[in-house]
Symmetry: C2
Subunit: 340 residues, 2 copies
């Protein structure tokens, strides 16, 4: 059956996340031990789905470490081979396979140039672990469907623990500990996701929009829809949307908006109104009661991407099912990409 593997892996998320969070002190202590005393900044290294996890880590780590955090531009190291002094930097690489050559090369280069290095992988004995001072193995089991689901959500949770190692996190431990059950409840409700997928599936494109840290959910959901459904889905921040692409949003244009009851909520609500005035077909994923796809209320906004992305996975899987495509093995995509 099409999508059987992806569905099974999505369903494993509450359990794998619970096991991961049980390793909290082991992970926090290991990372804390290697953070440079005078932290100059934080660099994240990733591609593809992991790239979106890295954007999450970037927001979070900058807020907790209170020093600038950003994603590396891999080609500066692989293509131009520029020497860039990384003394004082913590570098965090994310690669579920742990063997994307580009990621291994870049993390190795950053370490040679002075960075302390962390690798987030899924599996033991990966080449990425060889260039890491600390390796965090997600241990969520093999991920066989091409669209990353349990490794992605697991990585966000690990980044939450890495953030805890660098400073004060913007949530209570009980908030993070509640996420596995909350994801379980979302997964039990697949009908509303199917309804949203049906209403948005009118053409060959869709726009996903988020603000602040919820941009992560928008980007990841767009990628999932592209991967599973051969739709040209684009993820964008509300701020960037207003700076240009909004001109291409006309009557009936399908938009998936990630709303919040936290700091980004007001801006997104205003954008949704604006998009509807332009005639766009907007569906919302968020903790507000009127949202077409609901999230639990009262979750600190920095944790909301974990829940919102699961909703995005549901929409992507339902869109593929409607189109009778197999999200487990999308045409033209393979699991490990060999960018060098």
């Amino acid at each position: 059956m099409n999508g059987r593997v992806m569905a099974a892996e999505m369903a494993q998320q509450p359990g794998t996340l619970r096991t991961l969070l049980a390793r909290r002190s082991e992970i926090v202590d290991a990372v804390r031990a290697i953070i440079p005393q005078e932290l100059a900044g934080i660099t994240l290294v990733a591609r593809g789905s992991s790239d979106h996890a890295a954007i999450y880590g970037r927001y979070l780590l900058e807020m907790t470490a209170q020093r600038p955090a950003a994603l590396v531009a891999p080609s500066i190291h692989t293509l131009y081979r520029a020497p860039v002094d990384h003394h004082g930097y913590l570098a965090v690489a994310i690669s579920q396979s742990g063997r994307t050559p580009e990621i291994v090369t870049v993390l190795g280069r950053l370490r040679e140039q002075g960075a302390r290095t962390v690798a987030i992988v899924n599996g033991a004995g990966t080449p990425l672990a060889d260039v890491a001072d600390v390796t965090i193995d997600l241990r969520v089991g093999p991920e066989l469907a091409v669209p990353a689901t349990k490794t992605f959500i697991g990585t966000l949770a690990v980044l939450g623990l890495v953030a805890e190692a660098t400073g004060d996190v913007p949530w209570q431990w009980s908030d993070l500990a509640a996420i596995p059950d909350q994801i379980g409840a979302l997964l039990a409700d697949s009908e509303s996701a199917a309804a949203v997928a049906r209403s948005l599936d009118g053409g060959d494109r869709v726009l996903t929009v988020g603000r602040g840290i919820l941009l992560v959910a928008a980007l990841e959901t767009a990628l999932k829809i592209r991967e599973t459904s051969a739709i040209l889905a684009e993820g964008v921040s509300s701020a960037d949307l207003r700076h240009g692409p909004i001109a291409a949003v006309g009557k009936g244009f399908p938009v998936l908006a990630f709303t919040s009851d936290g700091p980004s909520g007001a801006d997104m609500a205003a954008l949704v109104t604006e998009l509807r005035m332009r005639g766009a077909l907007v569906r919302r994923i968020g903790p507000t009661e009127s949202a077409e796809l609901s999230l639990p209320g009262g979750v600190p906004e920095p944790l909301l991407p974990l829940l919102a992305t699961v909703r995005g996975q549901q929409v992507a899987a339902a869109t593929a099912a409607r189109r009778q495509l197999d999200p487990d093995r999308p045409e033209g995509l393979t699991k490990v990409t060999l960018t060098s």
Copy 2:
């Protein structure tokens, strides 16, 4: 006549650039004087078209300063108001109007938190200058068309001078000094751009692709096409394309590829072959003889985005002309965006 203003501003680029480069030592010296002695990193602050200039600055400054450089996530400061220590950082903000409230707020916050600040603007007495240690006024004259052209290219050139202030640039001065004449020669040849616009204009979408620092030209060209022609154009790096979106590229899909005779050339040539095997309709902008839109050969790759982006402007203007749209005043867009 539609597009008259944009065409006039594009035509001014060789002249405005020549005047700007004549201020080389004044600009280089001013920036050099404020660079922190122990440089921890570089932060770029921008939105929209300026965002793409900032990405150019990011590649360039990381290569010359040999310390990590990256774009700020504005919402960390505006939405979450996180305290982020910026001691040891050089912050470079880009805003042609110099009055986008978000950019002014963020640069001010970075300065309060220890950064040395540079503002790149077009015009005197802007609010952004009030929070900058050094202000560089492009002085390219008012830009009236909504799509930024002469301010964008001017900003890239200024970033080249800022890079010179931080270390050794990857070109000879004569290479940069030659750019205005080379842009003049490109602008004199608008027919090949019109032909490329005609061949790509088959639907409501187009993909622009670049690798390394030429990603800047791909992103900026996609934005110009979106702004002028209401086409859902998306700019992407060849590495990211292989990680997912390539699944959506099928027979006849229009792609504009930025090729090079420098470090990114081999990878882009391989990608073009791959895309054509998928049946995509690929047109190339590059210094190779076979490219449908030519660039001069022998230009150091870090300077190529200045020339490649002018080609992108030509394609965007020609596409709007074909569709009888007015690129000077695209529907739904205004010049200054008030993201707060």
